[in-house]
């Protein structure tokens, strides 16, 4: 019996797809140029089924690629070594909303946006809000340690995962963490699974921390005639002990694209625009947003607008939200990266990205989360143009190098995946790679769990 037949017996024929059309439909995620077909697409219904599937795969050394909704931007969910793509849409239940302990326990296939809606109906809040939250699954978010717009004030996915259940390569099921806020029993395996990109095991359940839902929200848009002034405003806001819920940035190239595309009324002569939101009790919210407006004006903002109504706030947010759309429409291929620096280095980093784009003759616009230093240099290109593609890759290598030089990192929220695996050693060093490899070997000695991700094939060294 072949391994595919064995898996058919576990989950039933209906839930194992091997037709060519199916394999082509699961050959990609949101990363350009890493398409590869799996050998089977499998949709299990339970932890028990996953345990059996993993055992079959381990026996036959078949790769397993867990895939939520396939929105990954670093080729983290592409089956580049074939094998099984594992789906979670049959494990998409919210198991328990515990209002006494402020936790929610979910299966990995629940859409993150649905978790937010469910808890907000009860006056509770799950803050991590990656832009894909209406599409991506919580399992994917946990595996990638996804960030979002609210990172500055509320942190990211890892700050909300209290416990996970996971199936290991040897078929063991581990139950790490739980509902306890305090839990120091042994190594923090929960944290190890968060951001592990499917390379250590298959997450089958998670318990998430919730917080009270803020009562109100205020939105401010400010434009500047220099990046330095915008960056100085950000620093001063933080230095004044204000922590906005979101503090977003778009550069001149992005402003231009947004205006061409949606005419939201941004000043096209501005070099930078900041979108700032504060949430909390109405009086504090209003007080904070006016203070922030004052700081922006003091630091040379050309225009500032506080939204009077929720409708107007939505319009202002649209300026930032449509950034990717506006840029993506400009070229056949769009690469969205997430180089991140300490927030004090934002102006330096944005300037450096502009210089690198010029040097390598590529088209890059930058927007991102100014409050936490997480930038999205976005390259508009065409992957069929081989010589430009090489320059694009070289430009991004230079951007990652610059981020690290400034005390930053190669990825703030998208994950390493296969795309950024050549650069991981730059950030964590050879010693870091060695330790990570030993961890990987301990969990998954045969390397069946999402192989080819995190670790570069030539051993963590960059081929230059």
């Amino acid at each position: 019996m072949t391994w595919i037949q064995e898996i058919r017996q576990i989950v039933g024929d209906k839930h194992v797809q091997t037709k060519q059309s199916s394999l082509h439909s699961y050959a990609y995620d949101a990363t350009p140029n890493f398409n590869a077909k799996p050998e089977a697409v499998v949709a299990p219904a339970s932890e028990q089924e996953i345990k059996k599937i993993v055992t079959v795969c381990d026996n036959h050394q078949v790769p397993i690629v867990p895939r939520g909704s396939g929105t990954n931007l670093a080729a983290g969910t592409t089956p580049t070594q074939g094998g099984v793509v594992l789906l979670f849409h049959r494990m998409n239940q919210i198991l328990e909303l515990d209002e006494n302990n402020l936790t929610i326990t979910v299966q990995p296939g629940v859409i993150t946006g649905d978790i937010c809606q469910t808890v907000e109906a009860k006056g509770l809040f799950y803050p991590p809000d990656p832009s894909s939250m209406k599409i991506s699954t919580i399992g994917g978010n946990i595996n990638e340690n996804s960030g979002g717009l609210r990172g500055l004030k509320y942190g990211v996915t890892k700050d909300y995962v209290l416990g996970v259940n996971a199936v290991l390569a040897n078929g063991d099921v581990i139950r790490a963490g739980g509902k306890n806020v305090k839990d120091v029993a042994g190594y923090d395996l929960t944290s190890l699974f968060v951001g592990s990109e499917g390379t250590l095991g298959i997450i089958t359940e998670a318990t998430l921390k919730l917080v009270p839902l803020p009562e109100s929200k205020q939105t401010l848009l400010a434009s500047f005639d220099s990046i330095e002034r915008a960056a100085e405003t950000v620093s001063q806001v933080i230095a004044n002990k204000l922590t906005p819920a979101t503090l977003e940035f778009i550069d001149r190239a992005t402003i231009q694209a947004v205006e061409d595309y949606s005419h939201v009324g941004l000043p096209t002569d501005a070099e930078a625009v900041l979108l700032i939101e504060q949430d909390g009790p109405p009086s504090i919210c209003e007080h904070d947003i006016q203070l922030i407006q004052g700081i922006a004006v003091e630091h040379g903002a050309i225009t500032t607008q506080i939204a009077e109504t929720e409708e107007r706030a939505a319009q202002l947010r649209e300026a930032r939200r449509s950034a990717l759309s506006a840029l993506a429409k400009r070229s056949p291929t769009t690469i969205l990266e997430d180089a991140t620096v300490p927030r004090s280095e934002i102006a330096t980093m944005v300037k450096a990205i502009e210089a690198i784009a010029l040097e390598y003759e590529v088209n890059i616009a930058t927007f991102g989360h100014a409050g936490d230093g997480n930038l999205h240099p976005t390259c508009m290109t065409d992957l069929r143009d081989k010589s430009e593609w090489e320059r694009v890759e070289a430009a991004f290598a230079a951007i990652f190098q610059k981020a690290i030089d400034l005390g930053g990192t190669i990825t703030g929220e998208h994950g390493v995946g296969e795309m950024k695996s050549p650069y991981l050693a730059w950030k964590v060093g050879d010693e870091g790679i060695n330790l990570m490899k030993q961890i990987k070997d301990a969990f998954d000695p045969q390397h069946i769990m999402n192989p080819g991700k995190l670790f570069h094939r030539s051993g963590g060294e960059v081929d230059e």
Partner: protein
């Protein structure tokens, strides 16, 4: 076979357009067939990757791809959701045309298409006769006999229900063919030409009359060019592109001589297809410009009513009832008309408007989709009716004949015919015009 299909894909489906899809997945929650199946084979980005695979010759059995495209509703809800602005609908229709030209249809579908499309919709006279038959069937008592004898039991369940919801066809004498209808205001505010549509002109003849009455009341002179034909949407959506092109030319000619401000439609599906004539004829040097002039004038009647401030000019009153609105996909996603119908409904005094969850998602009618893909269509409809239920509405308003029939079918399937109705927006608005006002007008 596969090679020639691959070649046709290479020649006719732009690689630029396919590559424009960045596979970000933002289309997934907007796609009704993905939402139902949770399977990328039935998602917009999945279908685009499959078209690419055919183009690259990477797929042996291209019929698997054809099947995936057949399951697509063509509702185009993915287009407004797409950050990269991929023109999915255009690629879908071109791909369907290629498959259609290369392959015999399954017998059932072939028979269905042949009768409904080639014979019926290309010929106003024939659709007239067909509806005469239907009228005879309804009026002669044959319908009762047929129901009694359970003749319809030989057909699939949803066809039986469909038979029960078909509207009564107006008497032939009523279908007189006047061609100009003057404005009822002291000053004419706009001159418009009415696109009748084949279903709208027969099964929904009264709705067309309502539309004209509303436009007259709003200050429009309405002309109805008599050489117009079917819009060609059903042909275009199912791959019969050449049929669609012929109809497009006929219609452009029919409206060219009328010197009007707008060309009005009251069927979202027709309106969207008319609006895309410039794309359909873009490679024909004799017609490209004429098509553009035509499409620039296409507008839904609801938009014109709002532009002429109809709700403030005319009192609209109706018996107390909860009303909800089901978007016509093509009206919303192609003509980008979403607010006007809602504003008009909300302007009616006495009626309470409640927005239903996912009103913007396809009802599963999608042209003849409910006949070609009955299972998926009914699955989508059943979910739609659950959303209707959450509003407690007794009136469901639509702006397209296919949606109207589908919503009637939904009411029939959920056995709510005694308490719930589905109406076209034009008919609801006419109902809301007070009798006094009509008389004084």
């Amino acid at each position: 076979m596969s090679e020639s299909i691959t070649q046709a894909f290479q020649e006719r489906i732009s690689e630029d357009e396919l590559l424009n899809c960045m596979k970000c997945g933002f289309c997934l929650p907007a796609c009704p067939t993905y939402v139902e199946t949770q399977d990328e084979v039935h998602s917009p980005r999945g279908r685009i990757s499959l078209m690419m695979a055919v183009r690259d010759g990477e797929i042996d059995d291209v019929h698997e791809v054809e099947e995936s495209l057949n399951v697509c509703l063509g509702c185009r809800a993915c287009e407004p959701a797409c950050p990269a602005g991929v023109n999915y609908g255009e690629m879908l229709e071109e791909a369907r045309a290629i498959f259609y030209e290369h392959k015999d249809k399954a017998i059932r579908e072939k028979a269905l298409r042949k009768t409904t499309l080639n014979t019926l919709f290309t010929d106003q006279d024939k659709i007239g006769k067909a509806t005469s038959l239907l009228r005879f069937y309804q009026r002669s008592g044959l319908q009762k006999t047929a129901r009694k004898l359970k003749v319809m039991n030989f057909f699939p369940e949803h066809m039986q229900q469909m038979e029960r919801v078909l509207p009564e066809v107006p008497k032939r004498t009523k279908q007189h063919r006047e061609s100009t209808f003057p404005s009822e205001t002291t000053q004419t505010k706009a001159t418009v030409a009415m696109f009748k549509g084949c279903l709208m002109d027969t099964l929904f003849y009264d709705t067309n009359q309502s539309t004209i009455a509303l436009l007259n009341r709003a200050g429009c002179d309405v002309v109805v060019p008599d050489t117009q034909g079917c819009c060609g949407a059903l042909h275009g959506h199912s791959g019969e592109k050449s049929g669609a092109v012929e109809l497009a030319k006929q219609n452009i000619e029919a409206f060219e001589t009328a010197d009007v401000d707008y060309i009005i439609t009251n069927a979202g599906g027709c309106g969207a297809f008319l609006h895309d004539y410039d794309h359909l004829l873009k490679n024909d040097p004799d017609w490209a410009e004429r098509a553009k002039a035509f499409t620039d004038k296409i507008v839904d009647f609801s938009s014109v009513l709002m532009e002429l401030d109809f709700p403030n000019e005319v009192p609209l009153i109706i018996d107390p009832q909860i009303i909800t609105y089901q978007d016509s996909c093509h009206l919303r996603n192609v003509l980008c008309v979403a607010e006007a119908p809602r504003q008009l409904i909300q302007a009616i005094q006495g009626g309470g408007y409640v927005e239903m969850p996912h009103a913007d998602q396809c009802c599963g009618s999608a042209g003849i989709y409910n006949l070609t893909q009955p299972e998926m269509s009914m699955q989508i409809l059943d979910h739609k009716m659950k959303n209707v239920d959450t509003t407690s509405a007794t009136t469901i308003v639509t702006t397209n004949p296919g949606c109207l029939l589908q919503m009637k079918l939904g009411i029939e399937r959920t056995e709510q015919t005694d308490t719930m109705r589905a109406v076209h927006l034009a008919d609801l608005l006419l109902e809301a015009l007070s009798t006094d006002d009509l008389n004084s007008g």
